[in-house]
Symmetry: C2
Subunit: 234 residues, 2 copies
DNA sequence: TGTTTTCTCAATCTTTTGATTTAGATTAGT
DNA sequence: ACTAATCTAAATCAAAAGATTGAGAAAACA
């Protein structure tokens, strides 16, 4: 995992100059860390990362601006092995959630003991995720409530269940945006038969056109249940 | 948070009878725990939960069957304060992810020291999330890779960016499944103008009909950017 | 075996959509 | 001020989609 013979290369990004200096001191006190850069600008930081490929980036995030979040995304898009640890004054659930979603490997609050910061750097450099219990709970509450919302959307008496096998096959092709002719060709039935099916689908889903049928299907978790012959359709 | 004067009420679900007995012994050794039930069936377990409203449920999950996952969902749907701790032999990333997504508050591997199980019960009963570092890392890797896939889908040169403001407004209405007449009425322009816009949209999105335009919009993260006048459209 | 559901197809008709061309008015940008 | 982009609109055609009725064959079901 981690080679203890080599110093960990750390880069700091914090728009507060005083804070930046403080962290730098703290880090350099650790004998096996090497601060390869420290900057107040996210954009500048990204350039430094491109140049130095640090092991860990300590990234300050201020609530109002979303530069920090974008920076995290940008860093991860570089496909380096650089791990991002967020350093923030906010334990806002949404912020934690979004930071982790965009690829942060750790999240430390400024109010936490400085030793936590060292812990975080150690953990993420070894490939672990560092998220203190309080933040972890926040994250999961957010995550689970989001998942729940989605699940509910799919719930309710789902009119999709009233469809026959054949109708489902037709609907699947509709959700792929193909016309009558193509559906007929794919299922090897006549175009008028397809029209019949489509009309029945409309009745059952209580819509009047294919666009609304497709919208209904997509928003109600329609899944091509069958060993669909439609697989071959481009 | 937790009232230490009262014993924690724990319910066990594990389809292995021996294992079930073992855990029960382990739990009852703790003086402040009270095992209110132990069963080998997920369905039976759910009934017991309805009856006894335990504080914590220890739920065994075996990989192949997805009864366990469904049970987690069912329990959380009851809207009780009952917390679910998963007990599993598998540290599969997908399984951990899905269990947490469905509302589990903790996840413990059977290979872990039994004291971890007690830790988990304590933590979740206090409202925390319990997820050992190794599993947490697994979870986040899965979570972040999923998030990444979604982000990529929205990436790529997004043809949606080539749309004008008005065209976006029209497209938004298209994604709501309304016809020309309604669009014209909503935007207070003539139907022929709408047709012009729609045709321009088709050109820009490289499609031939509204269904595909809508599909493109939905799959490329189309967001009604404006202070849309379309808000009033049913 | 009788009944119901599902799948198939046709014919007809209306409505909606989509394609194309042309063009005036307004706005934004250089 | 000149130019390019945008928004508006009409007219016309062709094509696709949708509604409706009726009906035979096969499969599922009771």
């Amino acid at each position: 995992m981690r080679d203890f013979n080599k110093k960990l290369r750390v880069l700091l990004i914090d728009d507060n100059a005083n804070h930046l200096r403080g962290i730098k001191e703290l880090i350099t006190l650790e004998t096996n860390y090497n601060v390869v850069g420290a900057t107040r600008s996210a954009n500048l930081g990204i350039n430094l990362i491109k140049k130095y490929h640090p092991d860990v980036v300590l990234m300050d995030i201020n609530m109002p601006e979303k530069d920090g979040l974008q920076a995290i995304q940008a860093i991860n898009k570089m496909e380096l092995s650089t791990k991002v640890v967020v350093l923030s004054g906010y334990d806002d659930a949404d912020l934690v959630y979004r930071a982790m979603k965009l690829g942060a490997r750790g999240y430390v609050l400024k109010t936490m003991a400085s030793v936590k910061l060292i812990d975080a750097i150690e953990d993420v450099s070894e490939g672990k995720i560092y998220l203190p219990a309080a933040l972890s709970t926040r994250f999961f509450e957010y995550f689970q409530s989001a998942a729940r919302k989605e699940a509910n959307k799919v719930e309710g008496e789902n009119l999709l269940n009233t469809l026959t096998v054949r109708e489902s096959e037709v609907l699947e092709l509709l959700t792929q945006g193909v016309n009558y002719k193509t559906i007929a060709g794919t299922l090897i039935i006549s175009e008028t038969t397809v029209k019949t099916h489509v009309n029945n689908i409309f009745q059952k889903l209580q819509v009047n056109d294919r666009t609304n049928a497709v919208l209904y299907a997509l928003s109600h978790g329609f899944k091509p249940s069958n060993k669909s012959a439609a697989m071959t359709a481009a």
